[in-house]
Symmetry: C2
Subunit: 419 residues, 2 copies
């Protein structure tokens, strides 16, 4: 009884910018290293080594059209009234033998077919007439017309995609065209996640057990991690026990690039996570000057960053977005996608505490051609419904004491399609 | 020999806008129906049925903080100099029994703990002092302070997420919090894809076989389909054979929402795909007024749309982006992400054919603080390197005859980070 006498205070709250700067300094530039993946599965990944073509593309001179391959010089005096005649020797298809043409000879060639030896041009059908075994060419065709020359697209030794490129569908195509089945890409960040608290149960067990609280924050953060492109190591729910939490952090530090803990970051007697990190490892800060999201912390366990998020879902989300997400995007090498913004008019005055960054959930309502932001009435940061009902977030910066009714604000949209 | 005498002409080219309008009319509003997926895997999907909560959240009145649960009326005259005394009966944790307080009694309660019967307020530690078995409360606390009331976040029967919503991480959280393990979402589009042409080989076989051409267009389109969120049925390479192509189209029409064919859409004797569709099924158009990408076609096989793309990778990509992609995004219910645009100055004059929409690949170069767009010199639409080298695309609309050197153009960026 009276565990609460062990209650501690936050040792000074960190401003968001300072906290993020600190976290970035500790781990923002971590190099994840690379891994080899099949080229077909590499779309959306960051290339970690220049790709140098080992082959010429095309690998030989080939026809760029369907037509007749001849020696160009023999067409030079050809006109509709005085055509040049060529004896048709046969047909060359893409992927078949090349053949050879001598004076007065031609081959029918399909698009992609290797050029027959001796021929340096392909005459298109509209410039020809076929008469039995002979083809009449009715105009002069310049050397190499309608021929794709060996190495014209890509030369052996060319760098075709540079390190650092975000691979898109056309890169997957070009990798195939040079025969590269595998490619070296940046490894995905491995993020381990656990929730603390005996009161929690998994959603799967919700119907079996009563009086417990479904852990909804962890599935939310796992979904957010997957959106970023992380590999998630989900350790589930761990009881509020000093040694158990410590053991888990040590074990996960051997598996993950980042550890995210959920819950146990407030100031109650059972809020042990920052205490474990402080006493056994390194606690960089505990307490963020945001609302909601204050009980967010950051530390290091065996060189692995630990982001400690509060158990309340909206608080956890704000902590995650402000501290963990920028680091993870940095690591992946991808751009952190910013939410779209719209301008709106505050429908009523909202007070805020100077020095604290507030994240206000609002709905957007159109009245007489103007868009108004209506703050969602909330009684606690536990209310996930406040974020599912919201159309957007209004960020109230630390220098303000609130926002007056009628003033214009910028709203970060939480759902597509409002505009 | 002389298959080329079978060469046909395009029967009039369709303008991009007209073609897309036609395709949309045929299949743009198709309803994919729904499927049930685990809620944890539903992030990024479109909800197909309103989610109605079966439970109250919280399921009972619970403490929103760590503190002492008492009857509020007994604190009304409390001051620091004249505190109210409460006998401490025990501790209630989240997920444990609730207990009961009578006059002059209190329980220590943790965040999330059920409120003891009789108590209607939680006094925070900073407003108390503990003296052995007794807790002194030093100020009046209004009814329900620091209590989350039953159903305050969500009431049983509330619609918590509406049909049509794109599910984001916070929705995954709220689904867990109401105990919904599964959710009804829009089915993914199933797209079947095949390449035609005996000259083609798979990249895996490139080292084993010589004289053939690696099929690079199909892996590119498959990657693009996966980016959109499609399920891909990959039928590989099919020979240029009328009956074989017809059989494949019939078989795939039973499996897929859309069929994409690659290659065999030009005017050569072996370009059979549009002919098969025209003779055995329904060909809506063949030939698009774009450059590159002209040999693009569209038809219907057993009510399933068939998008016929040229074999050349860049042409295929332009055909895909202009005809297939808008349909697929329509089906998924997600927004078609537009490329970012920058303004640049044309570094040299480019001619274009009026009536034809040109997609010009350009690199961007900064000189004296101005951004110039340099067209990439190309000799054919086969050149995938033209798109991997490019920073962006300039669209030259049908009403123009080209773009003058020095004029300002809008460039659609093909890679992130140029700005």
């Amino acid at each position: 009884m009276a565990f609460l006498s062990r209650k501690r205070g936050f040792e000074g709250l960190k401003k968001v910018n300072e906290a993020l700067e600190l976290v970035m300094k500790f781990c923002g530039s971590k190099n994840l290293g690379s891994e080899v993946v099949p080229s077909k599965e590499a779309c959306g990944r960051i290339l970690e080594e220049d790709v140098v073509s080992k082959i010429d593309v095309p690998p030989y001179d080939r026809s760029a059209v369907d037509g007749f391959a001849v020696r160009s010089q023999e067409t030079f005096s050809a006109t509709p009234s005085n055509p040049a005649f060529f004896r048709l020797k046969g047909t060359i298809e893409a992927g078949s033998f090349a053949g050879e043409v001598g004076e007065g000879e031609c081959y029918e060639v399909y698009t992609g077919a290797p050029m027959p030896k001796g021929a340096d041009v392909v005459v298109m059908l509209e410039d020809c007439e076929i008469e039995g075994e002979y083809v009449k060419v009715k105009r002069a065709v310049p050397k190499f017309a309608n021929v794709s020359l060996k190495g014209e697209d890509i030369k052996a030794g060319d760098i075709i995609i540079r390190k650092g490129e975000l691979l898109r569908p056309w890169h997957i195509g070009v990798l195939a065209s040079v025969g590269e089945e595998k490619v070296v890409v940046r490894r995905k960040p491995k993020v381990a996640i656990l929730s603390t608290g005996e009161e929690l149960i998994e959603v799967e067990d919700a119907k079996k057990v009563s009086g417990k609280i479904v852990d909804s924050t962890r599935p939310m953060i796992v979904a957010a991690l997957k959106e970023i492109g992380c590999e998630v190591i989900d350790r589930g729910i761990v009881p509020d026990d000093f040694n158990r939490i410590s053991d888990e952090l040590i074990a996960l530090s051997k598996l993950a690039d980042m550890i995210i803990t959920i819950g146990g970051t407030s100031m109650g007697g059972k809020d042990l996570v920052p205490e474990v990190v402080k006493r056994k490892f390194f606690l960089a800060f505990h307490g963020l000057s945001v609302k909601p999201g204050k009980p967010t912390g950051f530390g290091i366990v065996n060189e692995v960053p630990v982001v400690m998020l509060p158990g309340y879902p909206v608080s956890a989300f704000i902590g995650f977005e402000n501290i963990a997400m920028p680091v993870l995007y940095n690591w992946t090498g991808k751009r952190h996608p910013k939410r779209e913004k719209v301008r709106a008019i505050m429908a009523r005055r909202i007070a805020s505490t100077p020095g604290v960054r507030h994240f206000l959930r609002v709905t957007l309502v159109e009245r007489e051609g103007r868009v108004f932001a209506e703050p969602i009435a909330i009684t606690g940061s536990g209310l996930l419904s406040s974020i599912t009902k919201a159309d957007g977030l209004v960020v109230i910066t630390e220098d303000l004491e609130g926002i007056e009714e009628g003033s214009e604000v910028e709203v970060e949209l939480l759902r597509e399609g409002f505009q």
